[in-house]
């Protein structure tokens, strides 16, 4: 462990990597605070820029954007009630109320401190848990790998925050898009309609840029703009009482975020909602929730940062992304010629540990940047969207072109931009589609290998204890919402009956 940390510091602390780490978190903060731009968009749009870099440097930059955007998303949530990141949605409830009462600066400060503590705690756990999990996963056969991927898809479908059927539909669309092109393991061109551009498949970077960047821009044009609330450096001061009230919330939020972040497929959005919900239950200040309670900011912000880091556990050790952004990062690994998964810890220790150590450095930079500079960053919200979105459009289009130097890429962005806009308008979730698209080729490979290992009998999925357990867990997750709803209805009916009985006795 110590040797690995030293190796990580040697890799991450080179002047070049430090510079890109700083630039990554800085850009991430800016991207996160721009309305409609989130970490997935940022990573997807800037991915083509990193092709000239060493893989470790590129990943340090992209990961910096990922967790930097978590901080930036908070600024818009608090000051204009428009979360740049889905994971910051819940922060809006109390953060915006605090800003309206002139405590926007304190909300931003406690979010930065909470995020930092959560990041450091979760990184320590990440470094402890990921290597043994990877060692365990190295021993997995194709059946276990297939089961993990199926479980990952089920989790993203069941935890995406909408209707089950619609999440499942989008995951299937992702898998089908991944089936276009020369098939894994067979070498046969499928669904290409004779177009040579489609032989290498539908490119995921262009799809992600289309869905998240262009789709979001089109959506924002229709939503319109809100006026930001001003905040100042003086407001960033927080009192001892604020800290005392927030610290338990930060620790609880970090715990909830970490546990949920580990699940492949579940992301920081879920963690932030759960942490807020739990805090609202257990806090001594629960009557102020929804009216500007500082715990209502501290808890979800800590949770989403802890989850963002914990997301790297399944991504790095199993090769299964935790959410949409880690799915894009996973795709980036393959573009750099790296095979994501458990072997990464053995074959690329400098890269993995350098990346993990860069998270520590990046979070320190973020705290130093955000505590004094949040009001300065907030000024960016005053840049008229009329200038901003054409810049986003241009960067997205030229970025997509740069992936393969082909105008076909731009058409893909355009088509998926319009699809992404429609999906946002009718509330179809995007994360399952991206995960399906990224996992598709890996899933098919595991499927073919499992079929070969079982001589055509896929029943071996159920004979391996690990894969059978994972499939059972997946089935339980699908059934869970029905069971929870029924149990709640039963409890509500019993309480109503008790109330009726007691009022009858009273009278």
């Amino acid at each position: 462990m110590i040797d690995n940390l030293i190796l990580g510091f040697q890799t991450a602390a080179t002047p070049e990597n430090l510079l890109w780490c700083f630039l990554g978190v800085f850009l991430g903060t800016v991207i996160g605070l721009l309305p409609g731009l989130g970490s997935t968009t940022g990573v997807a749009v800037l991915l083509p820029l990193t092709f000239a870099f060493e893989p470790v440097t590129a990943l340090i930059l992209l990961a910096g954007i990922y967790y930097g955007a978590q901080y930036g998303g908070t600024i818009t949530s608090v000051l204009i009630a428009t979360p740049g990141e889905a994971a910051s949605v819940v922060t809006t409830i109390d953060g915006y109320q605090m800003a309206r009462k002139g405590r926007g600066g304190a909300a931003l400060a406690i979010a930065a401190i909470g995020s930092f503590i959560a990041a450091i705690l979760s990184l320590a756990l990440l470094m402890t848990l990921a290597p043994p999990l990877a060692q365990l996963a190295v021993r997995f056969g194709p059946a276990e790998n297939l089961a993990i991927m199926i479980l990952g898809l089920v989790i993203v479908i069941t935890f995406q925050g909408g209707k089950l059927v619609r999440g499942a539909m989008m995951a299937m669309v992702g898998l089908l898009l991944a089936a276009v092109g020369v098939s894994t393991g067979f070498g046969e061109a499928r669904f290409t309609f004779g177009d040579t551009n489609l032989l290498s498949g539908i490119p995921f970077v262009e799809v992600t840029i289309g869905l998240f960047a262009l789709g979001e821009v089109l959506h924002q044009i229709r939503v319109g703009a809100a006026a930001p609330i001003k905040t100042s450096f003086r407001e960033m001061m927080i009192s001892g009482k604020d800290v005392r009230r927030s610290l338990p919330a930060i620790l609880r939020g970090s715990g909830v975020g970490f546990v949920l972040g580990i699940l492949p497929g579940a992301g920081s959005t879920l963690a932030s909602f759960m942490a807020y919900g739990i805090e609202r239950r257990v806090s001594r200040n629960k009557e102020n929730f929804g009216r500007g309670a500082i715990e209502g900011v501290a808890s979800p912000e800590s949770a989403n940062n802890a989850a963002a880091n914990a997301n790297f556990i399944p991504t790095l050790s199993l090769g299964i992304p935790g959410g949409a952004t880690t799915a894009v990062l996973l795709g980036a690994f393959t573009i750099y010629g790296l095979q994501p998964g458990p072997l990464l810890f053995e074959t690329q220790p400098a890269l993995v540990w350098g990346l993990l150590v860069s998270f520590f450095i990046g979070n320190v930079v973020l705290l130093l940047l955000n505590l004094p500079l949040a009001p300065v960053f907030a000024q960016m919200l005053r840049v008229p969207y009329g200038y901003l979105y054409p810049v986003i459009l241009l960067t997205s289009i030229i970025g997509a072109y740069a992936v393969s130097n082909n105008t076909f890429s731009i058409w893909i962005v355009l088509v998926f931009g319009i699809i992404g806009w429609i999906m946002k308008e009718i509330d179809l979730p995007m994360a399952p589609l991206v995960l399906g698209l990224v996992l598709g080729p890996l899933l098919e490979k595991a499927l073919v290998q499992t079929s070969a290992a079982g001589a055509g009998n896929l029943g071996i999925l159920f004979t391996s204890p690990i894969s059978a357990t994972m499939l059972a867990l997946g089935a339980a997750l699908v059934i869970a919402p029905v069971v929870i709803r029924r149990a709640r209805a039963r409890v509500a009916a019993r309480r109503a009956a008790e109330r009726q009985a007691s009022s009858f006795i009273d009278s």
């Binding site: 935890f159 059927v165 200038y387 130097n405 001589a455």
Partner: protein, 183 residues
């Protein structure tokens, strides 16, 4: 009403997509010799699943049946009251935003941007990528957003110049120049 129709159309389109992939998958061969999984297995299986799911979604919309929520929704109900369904519900922009545009004006802008995007991409082989994108940006800022012409042209020039520097000079990416010779 528009959302309901859009939902119905989307479910129907997805059902057709599923059916097409199912048929295509069967054509490629679901199983090969020895009963092993063939190149058509995944598209056929995922296509069939999409077809069934989209039909379920379609029926739920037609009959106005509330579908089963995801796990997190079921949990949220107990934990967070007034949980916002989408981020938009939290956005404070009223019908008329800070630039004085109502919903109809914003929809008109959206259509203009989409058409301009398609035209810009179609023009790339003729006038080159950067010139085409520059025109797109100037059009969006000046015509669609009605921003100051001078500032819009400056912002466009700076953005295109910056992108040229990063992508063409630094990264050495050969952007299409077009038959008219523009970059």
């Amino acid at each position: 009403m528009i959302t309901r129709r859009a939902n119905l159309a989307a479910s129907a389109a997805l059902a057709l997509l599923g059916a097409a992939f199912l048929a295509g998958g069967i054509g490629y061969g679901v199983f090969i010799d020895g009963g092993l999984v063939g190149p058509g297995f995944l598209p056929a299986a995922a296509g069939m699943a999409l077809l069934v799911l989209a039909l379920v979604d379609l029926v739920q919309h037609v009959l106005r049946i509330e579908g089963t929520d995801a796990v997190d929704d079921a949990l949220y109900e107990g934990l967070v009251e007034d949980r916002p369904l989408t981020t938009d519900m939290l956005q404070t922009a009223p019908d008329v935003d800070i630039f004085g545009r109502d919903q109809r004006a914003r929809t008109r802008q959206l259509i203009m941007v989409v058409v301009a995007l398609i035209v810009a991409v179609a023009l790339v082989p003729l006038i080159g990528l950067l010139v085409s994108l520059g025109l797109l940006m100037a059009f969006a800022a000046i015509v669609v957003e009605r921003r100051s012409v001078v500032v819009s042209l400056i912002v466009t020039a700076v953005t295109v110049g910056f992108l040229y520097l990063v992508f063409v000079i630094v990264l050495g990416i050969p952007v299409p120049v077009g038959v008219l010779g523009g970059d």
